[in-house]
């Protein structure tokens, strides 16, 4: 049946029926391109996120496969990120100075043990990105499901109503915790290390998704098209997934995009404090902590590690922030107007122009 609901942007689809957005997201390819054109910063964020993610995947996938084919170990990083190299260090006044400034050979310089900074940053990339995606992903799944339940079956006096009440009370309690402090407390007591600190952040990260999802579900479920579907005899589960879930996916995806950056910051903070990833494993947070003392003598070490976090988080923020702008009707209006003045093609496909 025609389930295309009364959405925020239905006319863009109607105007160009030949190019219907692919997939369940209303944010189709066409809208996406229009936004990119209207806001170059979102484009920058999108491209950066793509490059960062592909690099991380390549760093994990390529070495074992290429190693198996070629018969010898293959490394994608220019140097071994963990092997100290003190052989080429210049000796000045009987003091070996290994931290070399950026050069053609070492793009981001080397640290106090002579290790190539670029290699160390690249080696940390898959770990940091994996942590960010897994924490935000688990939060999205867990918090999202709880939010769907709490928002959809919230009629007082029923079993669902009681369950919803319990979920929301629990969420309120967890929302009262400042998440970094709770995560630190949990990580400190679970024992130090990568696994426990990931678990600690996961345990504190889901509540906001519950509140967000529940709010969206409640806003959507009283829409006339849901009532129409119910009057037409559509089952509750089908309404939940086909009519409600698909329509609240967009804000969730946007929030998720922004959240990946936030998790990177929070997790690296735990490592910075010294109870997250152990010192011998390259990770951006503990690299900043380890090189803190070198800030005045070899600033490129701190700046390279900090810059890696900065660029990654900024990329996800730019993308998420731009995506949020198009979902927000009031700023979308401003955006499309701006696009209309700069681009004729954008104006012709923009419904509000």
């Amino acid at each position: 049946m025609a389930a295309e609901p009364e959405t925020k942007e239905p006319r863009a689809v109607e105007a160009t029926p030949a190019k219907k957005p692919a997939g369940g997201l209303r944010l189709g390819v066409r809208n996406f391109l229009r936004v990119m054109r209207a806001n170059p910063l979102t484009m920058v964020g999108f491209v950066l996120v793509l490059i960062i993610t592909l690099t991380a995947v390549a760093l994990v996938v390529v070495p074992p496969i290429a190693g198996a084919i070629l018969g010898h170990p293959v490394m994608l990083t220019p140097f071994d990120p963990n092997a100290p190299d003190t052989s080429s260090c210049p000796v000045i006044n009987n003091v070996t100075i290994c931290a070399q400034p950026p050069s053609a050979q070492h793009w981001f310089g080397t640290d106090n043990l002579g290790r190539d900074m670029l290699s160390r940053i690249l080696a940390a990339l898959p770990l940091d990105l994996f942590i960010a995606f897994s924490v935000a992903g688990v939060a999205l799944l867990l918090g999202g499901s709880l939010g769907l339940i709490a928002g959809f079956w919230d009629k007082p006096g029923t079993i669902g109503g009681v369950v919803s009440l319990v979920i929301m009370r629990l969420t309120d309690i967890f929302l009262a915790f400042p998440s970094l402090v709770l995560a630190l407390a949990i990580a400190a007591s679970l024992g130090r290390g990568t696994g426990p600190s990931i678990l600690a952040v996961m345990l504190t990260w889901w509540p906001f998704y519950v509140r967000l999802t529940r709010g969206e579900v409640i806003a959507v479920k009283h829409q006339p098209y849901v009532m129409a579907a119910r009057a037409a005899g559509v089952g509750e589960w089908r309404i939940l997934f086909r009519h409600i879930f698909r329509n609240i996916l967009e804000p969730l995806v946007v929030y998720f995009t922004l959240d990946v950056g936030t998790v990177i910051i929070i997790f690296s903070t735990i490592s910075f404090i010294g109870i997250g990833v152990p010192v011998d494993v390259p990770e951006w947070g503990n690299m900043v902590e380890g090189y803190e003392k070198l800030l005045l003598t070899a600033p490129w070490t701190v700046l390279a590690a900090g810059g890696a976090i900065f660029v990654t988080v900024l990329a996800f923020s730019l993308l998420g922030d731009g995506l949020r702008d198009i979902l927000d009707p009031r700023s979308r209006r401003a955006l499309t107007q701006a696009a209309a003045t700069t681009s004729v093609t954008a104006a012709s496909s923009s419904p509000e122009a």
Partner: protein, 340 residues
């Protein structure tokens, strides 16, 4: 329900009652996390070379041989008695937290001040030039703040920028204040209350770097909210009327539009309390600021469970209180809101 003073009292009373289950839940969850996970904190507290008998003695002293439920009961008794347990060295938790509280409050308020003074005008500029380069510039700026890890900003400000500008650390105050000097235990306010210009300037110089570091990451929240609600307000008729009357751009933006856009910004600032408190843990450690955050850092890294739980509970109460204040402010600022 309406907007009389009685309605406000009922509203605040109801919200305070709702606080009780939240605080109980916070206490229980923190206790479970910290006590279930660590099997034998005594082995850590006594050090790697402690003898078996020392560890046994420690276990008996702290009641760790009791069933978990009894331990929880003892902890609740301590909470109710008002000292919130003691650190392994016997230092009571709540008095320590309370004595550090004014310093943290001072830091957070200073950060809020910077967020308002810098963040809100940036939001106005971005909204007024929406979609143009000024908008993009402001957006990049506040997202940069968001993307800079607090500790990185803190470390750079503390180690590189501070000495470069000649700003002092907390540890080297130029003059030690005399006994009985402190009135509210916040250095800037104390100095102001004593009408001592030199001390006030000194205190502000000490405060400026940590407060900037704390404000920078959250700057975007104020800017973003202001920009969003300004975008909503600017196309309205009364703004067009104001412009037609020939009022200057500044007057229209800041007097007419901003006043109507501030409501959401102010309330959202109240909701950032949690993030500001969290961040203070890192900032206070880096700048050696003697507040709750520094105590939290010490307690968390030193396996001081009573201290850890104490700080988490105290911060949780702080967050709930800040949310309550934000709710009340929302009602005060927006005459359409009824107390419910």
């Amino acid at each position: 329900m309406g907007r009389s003073r009685g309605d406000l009292l009922v509203f605040v009373g109801k919200r305070l009652l709702q606080l009780i289950p939240v605080v109980l839940g916070v206490v229980t969850i923190t206790f479970i996390f910290t006590h279930l996970a660590v099997r034998n904190p005594c082995a850590v507290w006594s050090g790697p070379h402690a003898s078996q008998s020392t560890i046994k003695q420690c276990i008996v002293n702290f009641g760790l041989d009791q069933p978990l439920l009894n331990q929880f009961g003892t902890y609740l008794q301590n909470l109710a008695a008002g000292n919130w347990g003691a650190s392994p060295r016997g230092q009571p938790v709540l008095p320590t937290i309370l004595s550090a509280f004014p310093q943290t409050l001072e830091l957070v308020l200073a950060a809020l001040f910077i967020m308002i003074v810098v963040g809100i005008p940036l939001g106005v500029i971005a909204a007024n030039r929406s979609g143009r380069w000024a908008d993009h510039l402001v957006r990049t700026f506040y997202l940069s703040g968001w993307a800079t890890p607090t500790y990185l900003g803190g470390v750079i400000l503390a180690i590189a920028v501070g000495p470069f500008l000649g700003l002092p650390n907390k540890s080297n105050f130029t003059s030690t204040p005399p006994q009985g000097w402190e009135i509210v235990h916040m250095s800037v306010l104390d100095a102001m209350l004593h009408l001592d210009l030199h001390a006030t300037v000194d205190a502000i110089l000490h405060l400026i770097l940590p407060a900037t570091a704390l404000a920078f990451i959250n700057l975007g929240i104020a800017t973003r909210m202001t920009r969003g609600s300004m975008l909503e307000t600017l196309p309205m008729d009364f703004i067009k009327t104001a412009r037609m009357k020939g009022l200057s751009d500044f007057w229209v933006l800041y007097k007419h539009a901003l006043r109507n856009s501030l409501i959401s910004t102010v309330t959202v600032l109240g909701l950032t309390a949690g993030s500001l408190l969290s961040t203070s843990v890192v900032i206070e450690e880096i700048f050696q600021w003697p507040g709750i955050g520094a105590y939290a850092f010490e307690a968390i890294t030193g396996y001081n469970f009573a201290g850890t739980i104490g700080v988490v509970i105290f911060f949780a109460i702080g967050v709930v209180a800040a949310n309550l204040i934000a709710d009340i402010l929302y009602g005060v600022l927006d005459p359409r809101v009824e107390w419910r």
